[in-house]
């Protein structure tokens, strides 16, 4: 597949700081791909996007756009459009002029401008709002104007900087689908920055996880969820969050505390590890006998039950997601008998040592 955008060893150091904001980022975005960059705030994801756009200079490394090196290319020659979190609409222009702004700046003929704007407004269902000023529009409509601006430009690559985070939850869910739909229809290549793992999971063809100024993992959403490379990635994806429990390995079992341990067939060096278990992968019985945990908060969500429980003797808290067959209330004693799947992380580096597929093959997990 042709590569629309390729980054090689991209590093950014600001003049007034000695720590790099981003170091050695390598990624390539295919034509027509929906590529999501996700990470917590301050991880450098917006900086990365602005380097691709040419709004911020690149300290070192190479950026290729459509096969040509573009490190020093001015933004307008990079043939891309950008959608901002704050929409970046010009408040003194009406919707039509906002969408036409870039086209006029590029000296397109009057007729072509009109055709493109009309088409773009039609795509986002805003034709009848063409004469309105942005402040007379709702948040969702404003964001659609910003999208129309990207559609109207002839750029095939669109950069989006958290475009949905100013919208309320319901609208965001709808816009996610609309956006994805639009992207497919137009065959756009999208690089999408977000801090929301749900957006990343639902929209992306591929996801790049940024944290601590470095790329943590780059893969499809499913692979990222199933085979997280490290503790951070495991923790970042999935709601409720994965449980990370410190455990001690000896005698072929991970001992979390006296009442809860996970035996494995595989051999590890004796010592401290971090065990990751997704909340929905615990095996739980509600029983007084041999119980090893006590529920604290229980909330019924209709199709499932989300609970937190304290493991007796040791006090570590775990999050549980149970199907509705299990009937529990707050302050019940329960017995965690094991986990369907779990991850083993190096307790110092956080790197995954033992992944799920191997877990299925090699481990039978039962409680004591």
């Amino acid at each position: 597949m042709p590569m629309a955008i390729e980054l090689q060893d991209i590093t950014k150091v600001y003049d007034d700081g000695d720590q790099p904001v981003l170091s050695h980022v390598n990624m390539s975005v295919n034509d027509g791909e929906f590529f999501v960059i996700v990470g917590p705030s301050g991880c450098g994801k917006s900086t990365l996007l602005r380097m691709i756009a040419g709004l911020i200079s690149i300290s070192s490394g190479k950026l290729f756009i459509n096969g040509t090196q573009a490190n020093d290319l001015p933004p307008k020659d990079r043939k891309l459009s950008m959608v901002f979190q704050s929409y970046a609409l010009f408040p003194f222009m009406n919707v039509y002029d906002n969408v036409a702004f870039g086209l006029k700046a590029r000296k397109m003929s009057e007729k072509e401008v009109k055709d493109r704007v009309d088409h773009a407004l039609d795509m986002v269902n805003l034709t009848k709002f063409a004469k309105r000023k942005p402040r007379a529009l709702s948040g969702g409509q404003r964001q659609r104007v910003a999208l129309a601006r990207a559609i109207a430009s002839d750029a095939k690559v669109c950069l989006m900087d958290e475009p949905l985070s100013n919208l309320d939850a319901q609208l965001r869910a709808r816009m996610r689908l609309e956006l994805r739909d639009l992207q497919k229809k137009l065959g756009l290549t999208v690089i999408y920055v977000t801090h929301d793992q749900v957006e990343a999971m639902t929209m992306a063809d591929r996801v790049m996880v940024l944290h601590d100024h470095k790329v943590q993992q780059l893969d499809t959403p499913i692979n990222i969820y199933k085979n997280p490379k490290n503790e951070f990635v495991a923790q970042f994806f999935g709601t409720p969050q994965i449980n990370l429990l410190s455990a001690n390995f000896s005698n072929r079992e991970f001992k979390i505390n006296n009442s809860f341990s996970l035996p494995v067939r595989r051999q590890f060096d004796d010592g401290q590890y971090t065990i990751g278990i997704r909340p929905n992968e615990f095996n739980v019985e509600v029983t007084q006998k041999g119980s090893n945990a006590r529920t604290r908060e229980v909330s019924y969500l209709g199709d499932k039950t989300v609970a937190t429980a304290e493991i007796l003797d040791g006090g570590q808290i775990v999050r549980l997601v149970l199907n509705n067959q299990v009937d529990i209330a707050e302050d019940n004693l329960i017995k965690i008998t094991g986990a369907k799947q779990f991850y083993v992380f190096d307790s110092k580096t956080g790197e995954v040592l033992f992944n799920e597929r191997e877990a299925n093959l090699n481990a039978t997990i039962t409680a004591e």
């Binding site: 756009a53 709004l55 901002f84 704050s86 700046a105």
Partner: protein, 275 residues
């Protein structure tokens, strides 16, 4: 709890009303104090001078004073002079202040902060302290007794730059980024985005600079010697001393004429401030 609430409610409503009445009464009194000289001046401009000299507040109302002011004094010429000076000063200030403010906000250059503080420091100096060196400068430039002498020294102000800088800084930086992606250069961004975005601040500065230029007194008095270039404020003063007998009615009429443009500017300005 409920009972005390019931008992307290009407009392507090009554005292609230009393408070409101008192507040408005005070405001009305203050308004009269502020407005009365203006109203008195306007009223006397319609009275014959004989009546004014006697200290009477009543007499035959007529436009005679206005006719006299326009026909016997160069008041219209003064008005024209002031209009030219104020308009040019206003346009120059809007242009140069917005350009320097733009540079301080959107351009990165060495010592930007330091230069801005130097800029601000000039605001600390009262105009009166600059009068003598300024006078020597314009005299050496040969600008005395000309429109230029009242425009050139006031083409830019630190205050205007400061005010517009504040307003430009409030622009979301995404607007600049979006414009960069569309390939706008600094000039295009300046007049296509920055100026319309800061329209209200521009109108405010325009009104302010027009009025302060219109109300200049000391500087034109020092630098103009002929009716051809004298602005209204100094012209008014001129009317008074030219004759031994002061035609107060006519002077009042002239003053009323002079105030009119000020009011017009304020009304136009107010229309925009609301937006």
């Amino acid at each position: 709890m409920q009972m005390t609430n019931d008992r307290v409610a009407p009392v507090s409503a009554g005292s609230r009303r009393l408070k409101k009445v008192g507040k408005y009464l005070l405001l009305i009194i203050l308004m009269f104090i502020v407005v009365s000289p203006f109203l008195l001046g306007f009223w006397t401009s319609f009275l014959p001078t004989a009546a004014i000299s006697k200290g009477a507040l009543w007499g035959k109302l007529s436009f005679d004073n206005y006719v006299a002011a326009v026909t016997t004094t160069p008041i219209l010429r003064y008005l024209f002079n002031s209009l030219v000076i104020s308009l040019f000063t206003m346009i120059a200030q809007l242009l140069f202040c917005s350009m320097s403010a733009y540079a301080f906000v959107f351009l990165r250059f060495k010592y930007r902060k330091f230069l801005f503080y130097v800029f601000l420091a000039t605001m600390m100096l009262p105009f009166e302290a600059e009068v003598i060196p300024n006078f020597m400068t314009v005299r050496d430039m040969g600008l005395l007794d000309h429109f230029a002498v009242m425009i050139v020294p006031f083409m830019t102000t630190a205050f205007g730059t400061f005010m517009l800088r504040q307003s430009f800084m409030q622009m979301p930086k995404e607007l600049k980024e979006a414009s960069d992606i569309e390939g706008l250069n600094h000039w295009q961004f300046y007049y296509k985005v920055t100026l319309p975005y800061a329209k209200i601040s521009m109108v405010t500065l325009g009104a302010y600079s027009f009025l302060s230029s219109w109300n200049q007194y000391l500087w034109p008095m020092l630098t103009t010697f002929s009716d051809n270039f004298r602005p209204v404020q100094d012209g008014l003063r001129q009317l008074q001393s030219q004759e031994t007998f002061n035609n107060w009615g006519m002077i009042q009429a002239s003053a009323a004429i002079v105030v009119l443009p000020t009011l017009i500017v304020l009304f136009i300005g107010q229309h925009y401030f609301k937006a």
